[in-house]
Point group: C2
Chain length 343, copies 2
Amino acid sequence: MSTDLSADPLAILARARDEVTPALREAVARLDDTTRTISGYHLGWTDAAGVPTPGGARGKAVRPALALLSALAAGHDARAGLPGAVAVELVHNFSLVHDDLMDGDTERRHRATAWTVWGSANAILTGDALLALATEVLLESRSPHAGAAASLLAATTRDLIRGQALDLAFERRPAVSLAECREMAAGKTGALLATSAAIGALLTGGPGDLVDALAEFGAELGLAFQLIDDLLGIWGDPATTGKPVWSDLRSRKKTLPVTYAASRRDGTGRAVARWLRGTEALDEAGLRRVADLIEAAGGRAWAAEEASRRLAAAEHALDRVPIPGAPRADLLELARFIVTRTA
Amino acid sequence: MSTDLSADPLAILARARDEVTPALREAVARLDDTTRTISGYHLGWTDAAGVPTPGGARGKAVRPALALLSALAAGHDARAGLPGAVAVELVHNFSLVHDDLMDGDTERRHRATAWTVWGSANAILTGDALLALATEVLLESRSPHAGAAASLLAATTRDLIRGQALDLAFERRPAVSLAECREMAAGKTGALLATSAAIGALLTGGPGDLVDALAEFGAELGLAFQLIDDLLGIWGDPATTGKPVWSDLRSRKKTLPVTYAASRRDGTGRAVARWLRGTEALDEAGLRRVADLIEAAGGRAWAAEEASRRLAAAEHALDRVPIPGAPRADLLELARFIVTRTA
């Protein structure tokens, strides 16, 4: 991916996945039988019986792609960012395995989640193993900056946990402010995207202002990413997103568009806030009416506009630092793709 | 603890706890509200309402004591081992919080376990936070060997997880061999004690053969520690150990003395194996008869003798390297204490 200027986002992601998968497999191979098997399933490499699934349901590889482009942005080969790419993908998957269990989610990427197949205890253990493995892989890199990168990743994990703790706490509260909801999203999504975008430059000894600009790019992109995720969770096509239909509304998840809508002081806003405080289970038609209500209160339009503003802020962050043309184009293309994606 | 030669094990542990607690509190203070509160409770600093408990139920601080003595053994000040001491205590407590949940244990140190007070999701998150914090603290140490120490700790966490995965797998099996049970104990207990004993010397740039000898000392000590733990779980006084009476036998836990007894080919051994394969719930009298049966099959005596052999091997490991008199005496005293303790 070091010389290409075509900047097709799907090709960027596919190349990143091709680069990172062998290293990721090598890392996961070190784990004990149990957590290795479950990791292989969760990562889409095998089915629940352990049989390889060559065309299996993989993640989008957004974080590894950012980490590899980050090394290129610092003027180095993409491979110099590889330990960072593997590490951020491991931390991301640690959080998915644990979050699915904590949130009681039974499906991801059209498949049963790890805890539903192997039980809670084994899912806890698998997440733990992926988290420890991320540190191990990163510290094995030959970069003299590996310690700084691992330190950043550990602090990022703390931010991730802070975001998930807020998310869990929100479930027990009748209402949350938009500021609180943003803080949660900054922790749950922004922090790891920021670190993904910075880690390649950090590992290759890139200048501080470049590392900072890439981190800011990633943080803004993370908020845009979450806004789009929230929009797709309500108005997306379940066949494409891989999430059960209406699941976010069914669980009254306090996502960004919902929180925005509920914060409006007009009649529709108050109606959204009332539904959010309620407890009654709604059928499909009822959930569709709630979606319409959130849209009428401006939640859908605001979230789309806010995602565009975040994308602009992300692009702006890159303006102030020198970055070679090809990785700059790829970073921008990836950012635009994230905001226009439908899955 | 740098000049004392009195070598009273309880004093060694108390001094280690005094050294490590302020640094541990400083680290935990960085966490978000939820995981900080739960960590403070789990570590015995507060009650479930968040009220400080100055004389609260603390851990024995065996691992921090080993880490501080490890720095002294390399000829440095105990404080040079402090980031290592904090990190191993954090990893130990990460594993306790998650293991209590995975094992369904409701009591630890005479108190309700974290997951029973705050629920599974928050307990998962708290363990995650403690694990990430361990890496962070270690990498902040000014030692040029911090990266190597963090790398070792991450690999140790993988061993710990391997041990717990085996333990969980054993629950679903009618029998396990003594070799498998040793492997499990080496992972669950030996690995982190080995790293605790080595990490201070590693952080201070001690010679490789010293680091290796200390790690071997810790690994042997870990097996002795587990054997004594298993003995106390069956024949210890619940008022002292803080564990519910007969809990290990009630859950048919495949501990070392039980596995040894069940591996005997005589009548009592076969009776133990039969009980282990069974599923019927036993009352107190029945559990007492099982304990007597395990003792009659030689499980109790073998475990005590094996603990002594492991202690001797631990002592022997230290013989081959030069270590200043005071920390050598303290390490040996601590090792003997671990094998003769009653709680």
